[in-house]
Symmetry: C2
Subunit: 384 residues, 2 copies
């Protein structure tokens, strides 16, 4: 039970690792495709596996509202429900409750809010977030945290961080009570579930320090850095990531939540990060943005109307092997759902393949070289 994490190789702070969870092995550094409502939008779980994903993320907030965690628990948990027998990480619902829910009221107890679907009154607390994730049966549950907006003052951020620490203790206690059978009212389909803590503290290093100390004191199975990629300059994000990651135990996995652009993956691995999730590859695919070795392109652009080249000539994904930019542009302009499918396959392949290259590079001591080469050709700005 629980997780094992082996560091197989390092280069600087970059780590090539192997995370073993209840439903299998995750080769790290790893990118987790986002399957918000128990599906990665516009593709199938067979597709996701064929693209090489070891683990996916699902959203507690969305699944709690619909179809409901008790229904999923009765179905045998999220793995059985969604037909994915490999690792799953669930977020705690904190981020969505602060970004999506309506009329939320925050108190020491937790958050009371109205569902964005039907206005129904709901609540999430450190305890209920643990219970919901226990019912979902994910391999990794996340503690419930308060997500600060950006920018925020030192005082505001301190208050958020301090409350998150108090919630960390309550969430961990509930998780452990579930694990030891003290809370028998919760159907718990995955006895091997582990729980990660979340470090908050915004862009203030002293608050990050306090958050690390307090969260480690509570003690989790792994640690995430939250509250970044929320609007702060990218250099600040890298700086806080480096500062925080350095204080987390080297023997445990480190997860940078909600990041990021392809170059962020390199920069964050270089600062000791092992796990990533981000909606960019899937969401941008549906908006017609395709990632390539030289930067993102927007397939809507008229310049692609008769472009016979695949989206990325260096890419071996199913979309690039078979289709031209001209065809993908036609599908997108015509509003064909297949456009979303083909674009998503490409973008997920791009992210997962980038992680594969990173893992191989660390193994052979060539990560610095790979990163330099990538950043030399990759431009964040869209080629137009």
């Amino acid at each position: 039970m629980g997780l094992t994490f082996q560091v197989l190789a390092t280069e600087g702070l970059a780590r090539r690792g192997r995370l073993t969870l209840a439903h299998g092995v995750v080769e790290t550094p790893a990118f987790m495709p986002v399957g918000t409502r128990a599906a990665v939008k516009s593709v199938t779980m067979d597709d996701v596996r064929a693209l090489g994903a070891d683990i996916v993320l699902a959203n507690t907030y969305h699944l709690h509202l619909r179809p409901g965690d008790p229904l999923i628990a009765r179905a045998g948990g999220l793995h059985a429900f969604m037909g994915w027998d490999r690792p799953i990480l669930t977020d705690s619902g904190g981020y969505q409750v602060f970004s999506l829910a309506e009329r939320r009221t925050l108190s020491e107890e937790g958050v009371v809010f109205r569902s964005h679907l039907d206005g129904q009154l709901c609540s999430l607390t450190p305890e209920s977030a643990a219970d919901i994730q226990a019912r979902l049966g994910s391999d990794v549950a996340m503690m419930f945290d308060e997500c600060p907006s950006w920018p925020a003052t030192h005082d505001e951020t301190h208050a958020t961080m301090a409350r998150t620490l108090r919630w960390a203790r309550r969430g961990r206690e509930r998780f452990q009570a579930l694990g030891t059978g003290q809370a028998t009212d919760v159907l718990r389909p995955n006895a091997g579930q582990v729980q990660f803590g979340i470090i908050q503290g915004g862009t203030y290093k002293d608050l990050r320090d306090q958050s690390v100390v307090g969260t480690l004191e509570v003690g989790f199975d792994g640690y995430a850095i939250g509250g970044l990629s929320v609007g702060e300059p990218v250099e600040v994000m890298y700086d806080i990531t480096a500062h925080t990651a350095a204080q987390l135990p080297g023997t445990m996995p480190r997860y940078l939540m909600g990041t990021g652009m392809p170059d962020d993956l390199f920069e964050s691995v270089d600062r000791g990060i092992d796990l990533f999730d981000c909606v960019l590859p899937t969401r941008n695919a549906r908006n017609g943005q395709l990632f390539t070795r030289s930067g993102p392109i927007n397939i809507k652009h008229a310049r692609y109307a008769e472009d016979a080249r695949p989206p990325d000539p260096d890419c071996g994904c199913p979309t690039c092997r078979r289709h031209s930019r001209a065809y993908l542009r036609h599908l997108f302009m015509a509003g064909e759902m297949t456009a979303a499918t083909l674009n998503t396959l490409h973008n997920l392949h791009f992210y997962l393949d980038t992680m594969r290259s990173i893992r191989d590079a660390i193994k052979f001591g060539r990560f610095a070289e790979l990163k330099r080469a990538f950043l030399e050709t990759y431009s964040r700005r869209q080629a137009e």
Copy 2:
């Protein structure tokens, strides 16, 4: 060049055949998934091939309007453009111009209409429909016909049928002029394209007879029965299909356009039909209707909320192998695009697998038995 059609086995009027077109072999009786705008909605061409389709249908009207047949011709034709190297049949645009286009004016010359996309003035004639399809480079082009609505009087139907016959001659002449190089202004990426004629005449047998005689006199590479599945009672459709098919040459493929429900496939094969196309499996999938051995089910229904069975327990498709009705209902209710993908995979598999069973059955002289068994368990009415 041209097609070959071998009848490998027969049972009554049912034929097990092999149609060889410029881009490969179609085992008949065959169902053609509909790829209206050069894509089968919500799935990829790799999916379509993996499901076992030998041939797909694409729509002349839609592709003429967007992205335009000259663009597709410059891309090397529809096969290169859409990444499908197997046979393609294109309709003539007639059906869409009569059902979708705005403010159309019909004359002996053809149809002038406004695009349903942007109101642009367009026209289709027997000659231009041949030219457009030549540019698309499909393996089978269809002659341009006038599609009558139902019901229609004998006089109305006669006028439609007679005009269609005059258009047949013009369309065939243009097709032949393209083939012999007399019309050099049309880029023609598939030198092996063949053309099918279309029999009209509505539900009047005497008009069907006249249409057959006249169309055979023009002479095409294969023959289709048009103007059915437009609202007439199913018994009338079967009767007219039988009556018309019996007069078509036994050595050439027979295509029943736009049909139908799963039981229609059996009834029509039994009356000598070799080729089918229909939007039902794909369109109904997007509306949540899944075909099963016992009849269609609508996955939206609350009774499926906790149903752990696959859509069809007897089905081996990727959706049924991995997913429950409960999961598919959740995806549908949540508006996830993956619902359309998984439902479409299932329904196309159902149709293509039904055709496989039919082909095998005819080969072994067991078609009557298969048909009886199918009709005994299959109900057109939705199980609710």
